[in-house]
Symmetry: C2
Subunit: 398 residues, 2 copies
């Protein structure tokens, strides 16, 4: 592939922080982004060449995106595989990863079935169309079970644990499963959660070093690499990730979430939890922590450049800056000077206008010498905060 002043251009469905970090990673390579997002002035807008304002599945917006781009991709599962297939056929602009892969992953039941058929280790699961199904699944898998909406879940929304048959109706209502059914899964008592970013290029695949992820309230809080487990377990996690990549079509990076579970009389077991067909929060540490970041890798993959080295530069820790507010407020991050002065943490601020409770507003990363500097990123995150700024007045107007 040759580079010129404005080619290649990647059209991205979604312009949140993932789109923003894709644009930051593409710029040094001369790869430009055009993004589509329903929210005007989305986080990616200021770094991307252009934002088209439109719904993720709006045909006209997608067509305009495809006409400006050499290749289409998406940074959000709410992208519409049928609409992407249609616009690709109309315009000849390829889509990566393949819309079929998005289709498989979007439906949690189909995703589980696909990977189970491929022989991958998964938690036991059952299809759930109504409360009776859920009660039967609980009897079979053992209470409590985890019930997940088949479609539309994100950041833990659409997932709830169910303790007993009495809660079946409430749980299904809570996850909004009326639209497309649900899947019940054995609730895994894991030793820790792991994640691997995998990448598919033109004729090669690559996996990033294994990450340990720490979630609370089903939202990722911290990532560490190397994961604090044994080398054999990390190697098995990477092997599962490689097998996942073999089942997917098209180019791009994938966030592969795993459980590590103790096994009596044997090494810890790896179970596949979920796959995201895009860069993933568990890989943000790779921006500073690896020779090639997950974002640069995604850009390279979708435009057809060779994949880069996934070597880790050093033990790395990352922590999310979440909205610590009681209600939505104009976002103003405080404590920046103190956080940057006290630690070597790198700050990534996503530039969102509004902070909401537990909204992902940014993250910090630090690379250490002998182990992931978790205390440094925790200190940085604890030093950062949000100003109470209800009236939305900025210090200066323009």
């Amino acid at each position: 592939m040759d580079l010129s002043a404005d080619s290649p251009t990647v059209g991205v469905v979604g312009g949140g922080q993932l789109g923003r970090m894709l644009a930051e990673a593409g710029s040094p390579l001369g790869v430009q982004l055009v993004v589509s997002d329903p929210t005007p002035d989305c986080p990616a807008n200021h770094v991307a060449r252009e934002q088209l304002v439109g719904a993720f599945d709006d045909g006209d917006t997608l067509r305009a995106l495809a006409e400006r781009a050499d290749v289409l991709t998406y940074e959000i599962e709410l992208a519409d595989p049928d609409a992407l297939d249609a616009v690709s056929e109309q315009t000849g602009t390829p889509v990566h990863p393949a819309p079929d892969t998005l289709r498989t992953i979007q439906d949690k039941l189909v995703q589980n079935e696909t990977f189970a058929e491929a022989g991958l280790p998964l938690p036991a699961f059952r299809r759930v169309d109504d409360a009776d199904d859920l009660r039967a699944a609980g009897e079979e898998l053992g209470w409590p079970v985890m019930v997940k909406a088949r479609t539309g879940g994100y950041d833990g929304r659409g997932n709830v644990p169910v303790d007993s048959p009495d809660e079946a109706e409430t749980a299904l209502a809570e996850i909004g499963a009326d639209d497309g059914g649900a899947v019940a899964e054995e609730l895994v008592e894991f030793e820790r959660e792991l994640a691997v970013i995998g990448a598919r290029g033109s004729d090669e695949t690559a996996t990033f070093p294994v990450t340990e992820t720490v979630q609370r309230e089903e939202i990722l809080r911290e990532s560490l690499s190397p994961a604090r487990t044994d080398e054999g377990t990390r190697e098995r996690a990477r092997a599962v990730a490689r097998s996942v990549l073999d089942e997917l079509d098209g180019r791009g990076v994938f966030g592969i979430e795993l459980f590590e579970r103790e096994q009596e009389g044997g090494p810890n077991e790896i179970l596949l939890n979920e796959v995201a067909p895009r860069p993933h929060n568990s890989g943000h540490w790779s921006i500073e922590g690896c020779v090639t970041s997950q974002f640069e890798q995604h850009v390279r993959a979708v435009v057809g450049l060779p994949l880069g080295s996934t070597r880790r530069r050093g033990p790395t820790a990352s922590a999310n800056v979440l909205g610590e507010v009681a209600e939505p407020t104009r976002a103003r991050l405080t404590g920046v000077d103190e956080a940057l002065a006290a630690t070597d943490a790198h700050l990534h601020w996503y530039g969102k206008r509004e902070v909401r409770p537990l909204r992902k507003m940014g993250h910090v990363t630090a690379v250490g010498e002998s182990e992931p500097p978790l205390s440094a990123v925790r200190e940085a995150v604890e030093t950062l905060g949000f100003a109470a700024d209800r009236n939305g007045e900025e210090g200066r107007s323009r």
Copy 2:
């Protein structure tokens, strides 16, 4: 300083590759750039929030820039200190580094006098107003001498060595010294050229690890850090850089170019060559090679954030991708796949529309384990090339 969705904003005079890399470095910190440049669609344009098209010294353009920004800076010495002072007074927007510092540095004679008065080690120099002065300087300093236009020099333009008194008139004409005079300097027979990026923050300074630079035809080709000299020499180079920082006003990073010269019976001597009041080509390696890059450091400094760690992540080499063409042509970089597949080199492509002989079109950087991986960056640069594409037709139109 607090961060919000579109603040702080830095207004940058100049939108070349330095502006582009400043925008790339500012984005993760939530710092946006607005740039002014006379060339529409300049390299920084696609990453900055906005480009204003106008001459570097145009008052209206500067005023519009200041009105959009929380702080003004410049990435080119052709910025006009008087115009910057005026617009700063009109709008209240501060300028960093201080216009006075730019004024001092812009005039090579004033720059030399300032640093000489401060006791810094410099090559011997003389003021040259006409050919007679130049001949007298040659007699005094010894032929050959280096003659430099006092103002307007850049990338070796405006500098020529003069071998004998006969060449005095031609040399002064060649450097275009008619406008503002010249300075003659002892031609230093250096062991190697070194450079240090220095930074001035709000109440702190920092220096980056010493770089060895390799120039041909007075254009920087390669940078290596650590410089291939002894630790004592590197420490003396950093000490000179710290003394230079003490003589300057305002915040920002400075490219400090040095000569290392053998000294009979003593350690090698450090001489100050030139200072640039902005990020410098000799510091591009810091993007991958240091915890904080020179571009992030400049952004932090001018907006008033604490300076970041200048620790080197590993031995690093960088090489420029220069226009290897006989005449100006629409730019199309070839060999990208091969260069990226063969090495771990990071490619930075500046997105210039036109390639010209020896124009800086991009650079590559690689970080090694035990020494700067010079062969890897050379291999990458040799693999890259420019397509003969005289008609300016692109493969796809939009």
